[in-house]
Symmetry: C2
């Protein structure tokens, strides 16, 4: 990376004098576009607004288009109205809809009103599909090629209209009722005999329905290494195209969401450093409260064993070790299964296969740790304490791995996000259950 | 999804009689290719081997190519040698190298020996770059277009050679020393005046060096929505092309690795259900042992406060609640920053900005939880206990968020994977530190 972005970032931290503004403007002209994007991603909205005014119109548009929708929405207040309208007008319909989802309803209405009728209509198509569906993320601007056209005709149309269309490399082919009948790559079209009909050269299309879930469709598109996938309505008519870059964006958002929820908070949906502090707090506080309140259950469990604890204070020493190990074992299983569910490797119907696998894995891990724990605790404390620790580890590891493995599947089955039921909830749950197991085993072995 | 894959999966669970084999073969022919891939991904290698023998040659190759390299390596033993050689011969050089990385050295040598010289040479180019570099994942088979060619000439070359080349939509352009001077999309080439020179229509190329890190380059390519990025050597000569589908694969592997390590285990690198149980155990046991051994530190901390505990057993009741909350707060910060580092939103030099943000966030969260904790514990136990809990929550949340925020950055600075130092280690670390804070505050307030 060149020096420009670093110098720019330093200068932009303070308020700009008119003199510095021209210096920044000059620096900006010589900074690579990807570095300018990075710079904006790392700035609070107010500062970024200043920077936008110093960029050329073209570059400003490119930068704006590269930002997350949530970030774009934050920026709107810091930009000149006419700039916002221009960006909005130039955006692809699917990106436009993502932005509309993030702004207040009255702003959305106002923005939509400024569009030309044809653009508003095409945006309306995308807006008509539910959030999280393929239709909401597809490009509705497509070139319609009929199967009874010749290759030569299709190439001529492409040459004329190539610049208006988002992607020309994947070409869906339809019959006269506009129903999808096949697909053809620009490469195949280009190298085919111009007199052939499209129906002769087209291949079977892997397509999606507009109402399908966006995430799983996007993962399929990327697994199959396709550049784009045709999207049809329920009757098989072609309505759009989901492109690989939109697919990647969908997958990245889903992975960021999973990473966040696995860590016990909501995703920020915009770059960390440009997120206002209050939003960071808001993304965490609800989770933290819910988890802390569930942890009160552990206080109650321990409260009910207070006499046992008072008789053998030594038992208290192992509480964090045991709950920690149970939590770790549960997390391991939960993250594995959550990721496998996200990637489509595991389905809801696999719940018993997963349970059986995780029980065995947990038992094996527990036996290993338990043997070690027995040895160490016997040496330092007593054989009886060693036995308590050993047996507890076997039991809690088996329990935690099993619960950790099936919780994400259960979450999915009841329509919740598996990541929500993964790490932090497993920890809290296995803390309480683990403590009960611990004190039951202790009471039995120590006879108290 | 049709019924075929489900019926197939049921039939394949048992050993096949010759009669069933022909039935499966028929079912397979009518199953969509993506469903066959899913099926193989969910099967142990031995079973999948049987299935491969029932697929047509073409479909078998497509399925094999769609699998992870680790999974392919597992399958090699279950397939006929001649099939393996045929798949290996047909693979793209970069995928071939990924597979070679996963098989034992003697198998790799044997496989390489079977290749034709030209194929072996081109595979050798990719093999020459270090693991984790762009060079290791690029396509070395590229079309070389010189800037002094005309558009018409370039189109003619493309028409002739389109079928041999992995991607023809992104066209890097070089000078007579083969140094990259620009880039042109097939779309622009196709719509340009045939008499122009490529130097007139080419755009500035965003390129990568072969020795650059694969993950960050791949993320850039996908952020910029490019189909491919030219790759050059240190002197600027064109050596290959990194395509969007390889970029996506790189990013997905990295995200899976982060998800696994954030959950305290190593990634399986192949679908969960097809992974042998022993491999699942191996991916977790080292982490679990290391974490359990670090947790012994918490036993020591509590041991040193045993007198305090014996005097006020009530303190033991809150141990899981406090360590759990500290762990959750730390995890929240750690996962946010780990993801931001992976996406490039946060850099090493931001360590103090992150620390300052997280200290404030942690303090705010701690104050909120602390007030609540004070209220509840005062009601149920005593005001003194309430004060201990309240102050401890403020202190541990501030501490845990700060540590959680900077640990991933420190990990990155010392060249470790930030995800390794995220969730589970933060939990163990904040457990021990939190306990010390807790008992110090308790001793001060309760005067014991």
């Amino acid at each position: 990376m060149s020096e420009n972005p670093i110098e720019l970032e330093r200068v932009l931290r303070t308020d700009l004098s008119p003199d510095e503004a021209s210096r920044v403007s000059e620096l900006l002209t010589n900074t690579r576009i990807q570095d300018v994007i990075r710079l904006v991603e790392r700035m609070p909205a107010a500062k970024a607004g200043v920077l936008f005014r110093l960029l050329s119109q073209d570059r400003a548009l490119t930068v704006f288009e590269a930002l997350d929708a949530r970030h774009q929405a934050d920026l709107i207040g810091a930009l000149h109205d006419e700039d916002v309208l221009r960006y909005f007008d130039e955006m692809d319909p699917d990106d436009r809809v993502s932005l509309l989802d993030e702004v207040p309803a009255e702003v959305a209405d106002e923005l939509l009103r400024t569009l030309e009728k044809s653009e508003r209509d095409i945006t309306g198509i995308v807006l008509g599909y539910p959030r999280g569906s393929v239709g909401r993320r597809m490009s509705p601007e497509i070139l319609v090629l009929y199967q009874d056209m010749t290759v030569g005709d299709a190439l001529a149309i492409l040459k004329r209209r190539a610049s208006e269309i988002e992607t020309i490399y994947t070409l869906p082919i339809v019959n006269r009722e506009r129903k999808l009948t096949g697909i053809c790559s620009f490469r195949d079209l280009y190298t085919a005999d111009p007199h052939q009909h499209l129906s002769d050269i087209m291949a079977e299309a892997v397509s999606a329905r507009a109402n399908d879930a966006a995430e799983s469709t996007a993962r399929w598109l990327l697994t199959l290494d396709h550049l784009a996938m045709p999207v049809t309505d329920e009757t098989g008519r072609l309505v759009g195209l989901l492109t690989f870059d939109d697919a990647h964006e969908i997958v990245e958002e889903a992975d960021t969401e999973d990473a966040a929820r696995g860590g016990g908070h909501e995703p920020l949906q915009q770059p960390y450093l440009s997120t206002p502090l209050a939003k960071v707090v808001r993304s965490r506080i609800v989770w933290l409260l819910v988890l802390a309140l569930s942890a009160i259950f552990t206080v109650q469990v321990l409260d009910s064993f207070e006499d046992t604890l008072a008789t053998a204070v030594v038992l208290a020493l192992f509480i964090p070790l045991l709950t920690g190990t149970a939590g770790n074992t549960g997390n391991q299983a939960a993250t594995t299964v959550t990721r496998a569910l996200a990637l489509g490797d595991v389905r809801k119907s696999d719940v018993f296969r997963v349970l059986w696998r995780e029980m065995r894995v947990g038992f094996f891990l527990g036996t290993l740790l338990g043997t070690l724990g027995f040895g160490l605790a016997s040496l330092v404390y007593s054989t009886q304490v060693g036995m308590v620790i050993g047996f507890t580890l076997v039991a809690v590891c088996t329990m935690a791995a099993s619960i950790g493995g099936i919780m994400p599947i259960i979450a999915k089955a009841i329509g919740a996000d598996p990541a929500v039921f993964s790490n932090p909830f497993i920890s809290t749950f296995s803390d309480a259950t683990g403590l009960i197991i611990y004190f039951m085993i202790a009471k039995a072995i120590l006879g108290i």
